[in-house]
């Protein structure tokens, strides 16, 4: 492509706190609507916001984890607009002075080289409720509002327009997620909405100093969707530019079903939010010492943890890198080790089969019903030769999907390994008598022929035979 792609991302992250940003309502998901609400987060007349100090600490942690310059003096602004999910008619945010600015994080660029992506601002703001549209009826249906999420603590993280491809955008998000998870700021589950991403994208001729006209992409529910919608819009914009037309400023929505972007609104509808300092909240004042303390108290990040995995557990660097890419997965790995101290074996299974199932199901390690205890149970059965490695894969899959204990799966499915010599001897005798030619080949010095015979035995036992024992018995019988 003859154009240079310019992407900037605006990410909203739900912070992990006990209560909402400005009231004492619990900050956690409940299905029943409007349960976690009070006069403050419902915007009742006369109710006033009180800043949750824990949320401020979380935001501070996020800002320092993203290498931001922290404003020792900042404050909250009101962003005024009408929408039924916004109880006060304004959102409390930080418009004029963000808590953090001028930060960065490192990713790998398209060539695999380290690249620093600028972070323009990190600011605190409150979440909105949810509007549920109910279709049908002559009146065109009704709308219902759930304010459980209203007033929830968010931080908005705005990158500089430093990203040059959809792949870089995805890697930026992965890195951001990892940092937020490691810092304990958020669980960053995009599917659940605790990480939300909007993208700005434009194209320009390489070497141009000014930016092209950008579009804004919304409604992407996974990293994959971000990548795909960016690719989709980059192609669309390139086609427009190729034909000599101009891209128009607009907001597009990613349609997951149709796998394409759809225009939401044009520029004319861009709002004037009439931001001004919220007179009901005191300014946020921090000392340099508090900021420094937050920096020092940052928990171990991915790179450090990977280094520790290599040193402490003797894992290959590759394993350490894969395991620590997600804090959940690294936690999962270490939980397994507590009861089964064979790091490389655990690593193989966590990185391999377990991660594959997670990816298929679109889950994080801590969301899987297959717990570290289950993994340990599985690994112990292999270790004790109760099941073979091959059978173990089958057990893991069944346990992962059904949520049953691995041992129960083995019992129910009759997957116990056959180590009973007499039982195996009968099968081996049959295989030898049914395959005289192969037996002859082996006797004639063709070592490979033995493998075929072992395979026949395994087939006959549906993989449950102890392969080592089969080997031994076969050699003994043929040679006798």
């Amino acid at each position: 492509m003859k154009y240079e792609v310019v992407i900037g991302l605006e990410v909203h992250v739900e912070m992990l706190t006990g209560s909402k940003l400005f009231c004492s309502c619990p900050n956690r998901f409940v299905a029943e609507p409007n349960v976690n609400t009070c006069p403050v987060c419902l915007g009742f007349p006369g109710a006033l916001p009180q800043l949750n100090r824990e949320a401020l600490q979380q935001a501070l942690r996020a800002a320092v984890a993203l290498n931001c310059k922290v404003a020792l003096y900042s404050y909250f602004d009101r962003k005024n607009y009408f929408y039924p999910d916004m109880p006060k008619g304004y959102q409390i945010s930080q418009h004029y002075i963000p808590l953090g600015s001028n930060g960065f994080l490192d990713i790998e660029d398209e060539k695999g080289e380290l690249k620093q992506v600028g972070i323009g601002r990190v600011h605190i703001e409150e979440d909105a409720g949810k509007l549920l549209h109910e279709a049908g009826g002559a009146s065109g249906g009704s709308s219902m509002v759930d304010y459980n999420r209203a007033g929830g603590p968010l931080i908005e993280i705005v990158s500089e327009p430093d990203l040059r491809s959809s792949g870089e955008a995805r890697r930026y998000l992965e890195k951001l997620k990892s940092i937020m998870q490691y810092a304990g700021v958020s669980d960053c589950k995009m599917e659940e909405g605790s990480l939300r991403c909007d993208a700005n994208v434009s194209l320009r001729i390489p070497g141009d100093q000014s930016f092209g006209i950008k579009t804004e992409l919304k409604n992407m529910n996974s990293f994959r969707a971000v990548e795909k919608s960016l690719d989709h819009d980059i192609k669309r914009q390139a086609r427009i530019l190729d034909s000599g037309e101009k891209v128009v400023t607009q907001t597009l929505r990613w349609d997951e079903d149709r796998q394409e972007t759809i225009v939401m609104r044009g520029k004319l509808e861009a709002g004037d939010y009439r931001c001004f300092a919220d007179p009901e909240l005191a300014p946020i004042e921090l000392t340099a010492e508090e900021v420094e303390l937050a920096r020092q108290n940052l928990p171990e990040m991915a790179a450090e943890r990977a280094r520790r995995f290599v040193e402490q557990y003797g894992l290959p660097e590759y394993d350490a890198g894969v395991l620590t890419a997600s804090r959940c997965l690294a936690d999962y790995f270490e939980s397994c080790l507590e009861h089964f101290n064979k790091p490389k074996e655990v690593s193989n299974w966590v990185m391999g089969e377990f991660s594959a199932h997670l990816n298929n199901a679109g889950l994080e390690a801590d969301q899987a019903s297959f717990t570290p205890e289950d993994m340990v149970e599985l690994l112990k059965m292999i270790d004790e030769q109760v099941i073979s490695g091959k059978i173990a894969k089958e057990v893991l899959e069944k346990a992962f999907v059904s949520g049953k204990k691995p041992r129960l799966v083995v019992e129910e499915e009759g997957l116990l390994q056959i180590s009973d010599q007499s039982e195996l001897e009968a099968i081996i005798d049959r295989v030898i008598s049914e395959n005289p030619d192969t037996v002859e080949s082996y006797r004639g010095g063709k070592g490979k022929a033995l493998g075929h015979l072992v395979g026949q035995v395994m087939k006959a036992t549906r993989g449950k035979a102890n392969p080592q024992l089969v080997n031994e018995l076969l050699v003994k019988k043929i040679n006798s």
Partner: protein, 497 residues
């Protein structure tokens, strides 16, 4: 002397000595309300049953020998923009006509805890936006000294209730003079405390950086009694001040030695009644005679105060009133779409003055105007505060008028918003600077209407204000002032609305 004519301090004394019961006291005020309120209309909602019930509870607690708050059993009226649990709080607006708060304002919780029976909720200009109580969506309140005139506003209902013995005390709110201006027009004492001294939690916001709950009483000492109850830090209000609360009653005995008083020289203000200036000068001489040192002070930037105020207050109001969309509470109009529902709800629910201020504020905050209007006004506000800080280096107290004129006629200024805004000209700079400010009666106009003085002190110096207020009371033969209300007999039903 009948019970309803007594000060809160006197009622407190008689209740504590068990000369009277709270039920008797409350009944006396309720009878007075029945007698007077149909003509003057101070109350939007009366709560006789609730008041008698809490009076009864206090009486039996007292019978059991419990230690009670000095104000226990003394009834009070509450401005109808202060939230009361399970009791309609309308802000004198159609949009909240049937709104019942699910919580008590912090100050109301304090009243209840102390055992003060609430007589009802008083009338105001819609959302406290106005200077005459004519902007109430329900009915205007009348001035007891001349029922053809306004009581001032926006706390007109609270002030009239106290002036006429319908309540011994009332809570008001003051954004740009809403306690002090009506207090002066009706001859009572009104205190706007330092911004942040009294919790705003539960006060329905008009302009949050200016709104302050304060007291309406017939004497400075009664104001001190009520301040003891409502002042203090509230974790629910982020702008409330953590400083310790003094006993406002203690040390109010006069003694003005070495008090340095700055007599405010106003810049050019149209429509300043010369008799008002005369009354202020007379007050200054009185202070001087009793040992105070009086000098002149000018606050040059106060000339810009009115303009700054009428940009900042509407800007905040335009945002504060965004929540009235008909979705969660209050009046809700039908509409084919969400947008239609919003605009019809607000179009039908708000009165003209509220809409005017929302529009001014929306304009002042809009992109392209924000710097020239809102931001400029905020800078002026900072400079005004500096003017005050400078003045308070030389003086302990500033003395001026609480209103440029005595009470004006009903309808006189309703057609001219600017003239109406000018009636707050004496009050708004104190508000912008966040200083505590007290209106006390300052004699009478030749027309027989009361005039008010305004005293302003450094932050947290409410006590000095009350002490000086008490000094002025003691200079008068008769106190508290009571309007004769002879029109009740003379003209009877003429004034019934």
């Amino acid at each position: 002397m009948r019970l309803y004519e007594m000060t809160a301090a006197e009622l407190s004394r008689r209740l504590q000595s068990r000369e009277v019961s709270s039920a008797e006291v409350v009944r006396s005020f309720l009878e007075r309300i029945d007698e007077v309120d149909p003509y003057l209309r101070a109350f939007i909602t009366r709560t006789p049953d609730l008041a008698l019930k809490s009076a009864g509870e206090i009486d039996s607690r007292r019978m059991r020998g419990e230690t009670l708050h000095p104000l226990a059993g003394v009834p009070i009226a509450v401005k109808d923009n202060i939230s009361t649990l399970a009791l309609r709080t309308t802000c004198a607006s159609r949009i909240l006509e049937n709104y019942i708060p699910p919580f008590d304002a912090t100050v109301v919780a304090a009243l209840k805890k102390a055992g003060m029976p609430i007589l009802g909720k008083t009338n105001l200009d819609e959302f406290a936006m106005g200077s005459s109580t004519e902007n109430s969506a329900f009915f205007p309140t009348r001035n007891p000294w001349d029922p053809g005139r306004v009581p001032g506003g926006s706390s007109g209902g609270s002030v009239v209730a106290v002036a006429t013995g319908m309540a011994p005390l009332a809570l008001g709110s003051d954004t740009g003079g809403s306690i002090r201006q009506p207090a002066s027009l009706c001859g009572v004492t009104g205190l706007r405390p330092t911004y942040g001294r009294v919790s705003r939690y539960g006060l329905v916001a008009f302009a949050s950086s200016l709104d302050q709950i304060g007291t309406v009483s017939t004497t400075a000492f009664d104001g001190a009694l009520l301040m003891n109850l409502i002042a203090g830090y509230d974790p629910l209000d982020s702008t409330s001040l953590p400083e310790e609360v003094p006993d406002y009653r203690a040390g109010l005995e006069p003694g003005l030695d070495k008090l340095r008083v700055g007599l405010i020289r106003y810049g050019r203000v149209d429509g300043f009644d010369p008799e008002v200036t005369e009354a202020v000068n007379k007050a200054a001489s009185m202070l001087e005679e009793h040992g105070a040192k009086v000098g002149e002070v000018s606050l040059p930037l106060t000339d810009y105060g009115l303009s700054a105020y009428y940009l900042i207050a509407p800007s905040e109001a335009s945002s504060n009133l965004g929540r009235y969309d008909g979705v969660r509470y209050g009046f809700c109009a039908d509409g084919d779409s969400i947008e239609a529902m919003f605009s019809r709800t607000r179009g039908e629910g708000f009165g003209a003055e509220v809409k005017r201020r929302i529009m001014i504020g929306t304009y002042a905050l809009s992109a392209g105007y924000y710097d020239a209007y809102y931001l400029k006004a905020m800078k002026v506000r900072t400079l005004i505060r500096r003017d005050y800080e400078k003045a308070f280096k030389k003086f302990d107290l500033l003395l001026g008028a609480a209103s440029p004129t005595p009470a004006f006629k009903l309808g006189e200024k309703t057609e001219d918003p600017l003239q109406m805004y000018l009636s707050d000209v004496c009050n708004i700079t104190d508000s912008l600077a966040g200083m505590p400010s007290l209106a006390v009666p300052g004699g009478f106009h030749s027309s027989g209407l009361p005039l008010g003085l305004q005293l302003t002190a450094r932050p947290m110096q409410e006590k000095l204000l009350l002490k000086t207020g008490r000094f002025f009371e003691e200079q008068r033969a008769e106190y508290p002032l009571r309007p004769s209300l002879d029109f009740l007999e003379e003209r009877g039903g003429d004034y019934e609305i």
